[in-house]
Symmetry: C2
DNA sequence: TACTTGCTAATGTATATACAACAAATCGAG
DNA sequence: CTCGATTTGTTGTATATACATTAGCAAGTA
């Protein structure tokens, strides 16, 4: 193991064991350099990487301290529906039930930052897992940024994949809620009785503005959103991230 | 702007504009050092940080290349309910409706990795936002790792906050689904009619094993889970992460 | 062809040094 | 004692250098 990794391990162990609680001072760069008999730059690298991983905070002129645990937030990964189905070794296919150009109503126009009443792409696509419908994707797309949207074949590649290709997506915001589907959505999902649905509202951005607004509706009985989380960056012991 | 930041900006711009597509080679450390008239170590820092942010991949002996876009997954932040309410400038309070020690049924015992039938803590806590119930937290806790759980005052600090303090939580897994609440939950949430609820199933781990298993139920009409996402690490232009 | 060898270029690690920017403690004057 | 200036310690940036490790290529060899 390289020297800077040894120093990281040493500090990591102190923090994980609880020997160094929150805000406990960590030896300075020069201090560590002395303890471990390395140059300051090597000790510095250890501290810098720990800071990048969020385990310690550093303040010029003041020192390095054990970072407070971030109890308030955790990260959940949201994956592409097609990928998710495929990794379950199931079969995915999509059906385009609607592809049109419509005048954006006021709310949508505000969402997409386009002039009120201007034309936008509107598509509705149903995603199937082993021939069972698991998602209705109702999407509006800004034609200024993606003029060719209406001409794509979305049975081959999902809209999200396509959008990632043609525009460098930079951000997205999600809202997840539980709702009862309307009649039309029930029909698309093949539901005879109303049942709770997981609805994800997603807005995606590229550097030039809002690209797309999508509402993804999943039947609660056939779909759940899962994710694994690490509160801190895991140690890179075995060479893999 | 410091020199290494200028180099990062330069490369970032090339990638974002699409001028350098996936797998396009990036100038070598020495090359950039020449172009920008800096030392190799300064150019190296720029490339190294871009690699840490996932924008480029590096291979010893081979070179640096624009990383493929990760379209398949995005990250959603899940926050502590109490923090979330407080940042909305609303008032949060909690009510403990149940705190007991029970014998773990088989399924739960497997979940928590404890012997079948051994005692575990079980608590049910209702969280209020401005006196409206917004979450029922039904939690089981491994007493081997958190023996004092039953003696805490959870009107002052949420269980999750407490658990983060006493054990260094390292991981969690979440499952989110839409369900109809049972009679008891409806009563706790003050619902007269059944309505779709967002249910989060969370299991948390520390280095010694599974700490806790919680089911968080939110009424769909009063709660949605929101999150902002960046597909790539944002540029650190204005000095903030 | 198939394999080996050696060279070159690229990244990875480590060191030494210099100076800048900043925070906190120290000291001195009033 | 209080306020302000100075000092000291710590992190941030930048440079120069040395050597290690590896990928890719080219040339040579069987």
């Amino acid at each position: 193991m390289s020297k800077y990794e040894q120093i990281k391990e040493y500090i990591y162990q102190k923090i994980e064991s609880g020997e160094w609680p929150e805000n406990h001072p960590v030896s300075s760069e020069n201090g560590l350099a002395g303890q471990f008999n390395v140059s300051r730059m090597t000790a510095r690298r250890a501290l810098q990487e720990l800071a990048d991983e969020g385990l310690v905070t550093r303040a010029r002129g003041s020192g390095t301290f054990v970072a407070p645990l971030k109890s308030q937030s955790a990260l959940l990964t949201i994956r592409n529906i097609a990928d998710e189905i495929r990794t379950r070794q199931h079969q995915h296919h999509a059906k385009v039930v609607l592809m049109e150009e419509v005048s954006a109503p006021p709310t949508l126009a505000t969402f997409l930052h386009v002039p009120n009443g201007s034309k936008v792409w509107h598509s509705v696509i149903i995603h199937f897992e082993n021939d069972q419908p698991v998602q209705v994707e109702d999407r509006y797309v800004n034609p200024r940024l993606v003029p060719e949207y209406g001409q794509q074949d979305f049975t081959a590649c999902t809209p999200h994949e396509y959008l990632c290709e043609v525009t460098p997506l930079t951000e997205a915001s999600h809202q997840i809620e539980a709702v009862l589907p309307d009649q039309q959505t029930m029909q698309w999902l093949g539901l005879s009785e109303p049942e709770p649905c997981l609805q994800i509202n997603r807005r995606t951005w590229c550097s030039d503005g809002v690209v797309s607004q999508a509402t993804l509706t999943h039947p609660g009985s056939k779909y759940r959103l899962g994710g694994h989380i690490t509160f801190r960056s895991p140690r890179k012991t075995k060479g893999e991230v």
